[in-house]
């Protein structure tokens, strides 16, 4: 038996996988990783990840091996340190395998010019799926663990690591962009031509009121000449909805399943991961 404990949560530490599907008609959101490109890159280092990843935002966690040994890899732009049992400290690079033995403590510092980072574990985290997925939706309290992780949470990985040989993925290329291609939203006609012109010609700033549910933007207000209140209809990650204050919200992975605001546009699905990584204060532009 191998066991580790969370000794620092950082911010917004949750378990995520590729998403929970086929339940949105019951009001259950897809959830899943905000930036799946990173776990995809980690899979080359830790192929036996069992689809059980830790996701953190801004500040990474610390975890300490209490029994046995585990093999992990960290993805994202961040500094990674291991405090060894003998009190030496070793720095590791992202997308390399890290062997952690009894008493070792892994600490991940803040994400650099980005938001989300991930940890992959060989043989997973010993979790049972909830509605066919390991992902945590903290607002709906659904998941293998139905809340953000807390200090003291323990994980037991029964299978031992197969090889301590170091592995790395040298070909990680996580692109960053601030101009986003969008598709017409179902209520695009709720907005007059000159309003749509503002939407594509002026920058919008990502505000601090942004999380796994959505990114609230601030910029030229987008007023509808029809209504800001529609009959609620199905929404998907990437939908850009505009409430009555005219400030658009980009819906992300923990979406409410239906929404009653008009949608001016829908982000290209490829770009949801990219926009997720832009910290508050970043100016972005849209283009049809």
């Amino acid at each position: 038996m191998n066991r580790f404990r969370i000794t620092r949560t950082g911010t917004y530490l949750t378990i995520q996988d590729w998403g929970r599907f086929h339940y949105q008609h019951l009001g259950i959101s897809p959830s899943g990783m905000m930036d799946p490109r990173i776990p995809e890159a980690l899979a080359a280092v830790i192929p036996q990840h069992q689809n059980q990843f830790l996701e953190f935002a801004y500040v990474g966690p610390s975890l300490k091996v209490e029994q046995g040994a585990i093999k992990v890899s960290v993805g994202g732009q961040c500094n990674i340190f291991v405090q060894k049992n003998n009190n030496t400290q070793i720095e590791h690079a992202p997308y390399t395998s890290i062997n952690l033995f009894e008493g070792d403590e892994l600490t991940i510092h803040s994400t650099i010019n980005s938001v989300y980072g991930y940890i992959a574990f060989e043989n997973g985290l010993g979790l049972e799926p909830c509605l066919q997925s390991f992902a945590t939706d903290t607002k709906a309290q659904i998941g293998s663990v139905n809340r953000p992780l807390q200090i003291g949470d323990q994980f037991k990985i029964s299978q031992d690591v197969s090889s301590w040989e170091l592995q790395s993925n040298e070909e990680v290329n996580i692109l960053k962009q601030t101009n986003f291609k969008v598709h017409p939203g179902p209520q695009l006609h709720y907005f007059a031509d000159e309003v749509v012109q503002s939407f594509v010609s002026s920058p919008y700033t990502i505000t601090t009121q942004s999380d796994r549910m959505g990114l609230r933007l601030e910029g030229e207000p987008l007023k509808s000449h029809v209504s800001h209140d529609i009959l609620s209809e199905g929404i998907l990650p990437g939908c850009i909805q505009v409430p009555s204050n005219g400030q658009p919200i980009v819906l992300m992975r923990d979406i409410p399943c239906t929404g009653g605001y008009p949608k001016i546009a829908i982000l290209d699905s490829e770009d949801i991961s990219k926009i997720a990584q832009l910290p508050p204060g970043t100016k972005i532009t849209f283009d049809f």
Partner: protein, 239 residues
């Protein structure tokens, strides 16, 4: 037939349009088409019905484009007037007493109704379940007696107690869990309406009919203390 056509919804989605209004006949057609789509094996990720739309999402645009052709072909020859099978009729106990009805007195004042009138008008209608949305297991029910139609709260509450019965516009609902929300709270149900332990997950499903029955606070506490499992609730309160 209300179905108007299918449009793209971003690069991975489709939206099926059933017009711009909401009504029970439209919803019945939406839910008939929903059941039809579920049976088609479209490689979809999600099918999301609402009052007058169905959104379907896919993993990639190739799957989406193939599915669009299949859906168009299927709907062209389908009989959408078929009524749904497996619908349940519920008789749900509800307590409208002060401790569970945060907004009832304000509703009375707004509409010039007595407490008994609010209760009898809310329990006097057999509600149709339009769809489940907003949060896990949250049913959109309707339509309210016109004298109870009330706008949402101007400022939503940060925390609404689990199992609360709300009204907003021409609809009524039950909050499955503690949640922020803007519906006017007029009562509470004495058991869970969402369960991960039961295959149904959501007690109420689209097309179900729900009639509330007023119970006293004493009866409420009595039923609540039994902590009924879904199977017991289904056995005791549905047909």
């Amino acid at each position: 037939m209300f179905f108007k056509g299918i449009n793209h919804y971003g690069n991975l989605g489709l939206i099926l349009d059933f017009g711009s209004n909401s009504s029970q006949p439209i919803s019945q057609e939406v839910n008939t088409v929903f059941a039809l789509l579920q049976g088609l094996d479209l490689s979809q990720l999600n099918i999301i019905p609402s009052f007058n739309k169905i959104v379907v999402s896919f993993q990639n645009s190739q799957d989406r484009n193939q599915a669009q052709a299949v859906i168009e072909h299927t709907l062209a020859k389908a009989n959408l007037t078929n009524s749904q099978k497996d619908r349940k009729t519920w008789n749900i106990p509800a307590c409208y007493e002060d401790s569970y009805a945060l907004d009832r007195e304000r509703i009375q004042a707004t509409h010039g109704l007595t407490k008994e009138e609010v209760i009898s008008r809310h329990t006097g209608v057999s509600y149709y379940t339009y769809y489940i949305g907003f949060m896990p297991g949250f049913p959109y029910l309707g339509d309210l007696d016109p004298s109870l139609i009330t706008p949402r709260l101007a400022t939503p509450r940060i925390q609404i107690p689990a199992r609360s019965i709300g009204i907003a516009k021409e609809h009524t609902c039950v909050y499955p869990k503690v949640s922020p929300g803007g519906w006017n709270i007029i009562g509470q149900v004495p058991f869970n309406i969402f369960s991960l332990e039961h295959s149904r997950t959501s007690l109420f499903l689209p097309g179900d009919t729900i009639q509330f029955q007023s119970i006293s606070e004493k009866e409420f506490i009595q039923i609540q203390s039994k902590d009924l499992a879904f199977d017991e609730v289904i056995k005791e309160f549905s047909q």
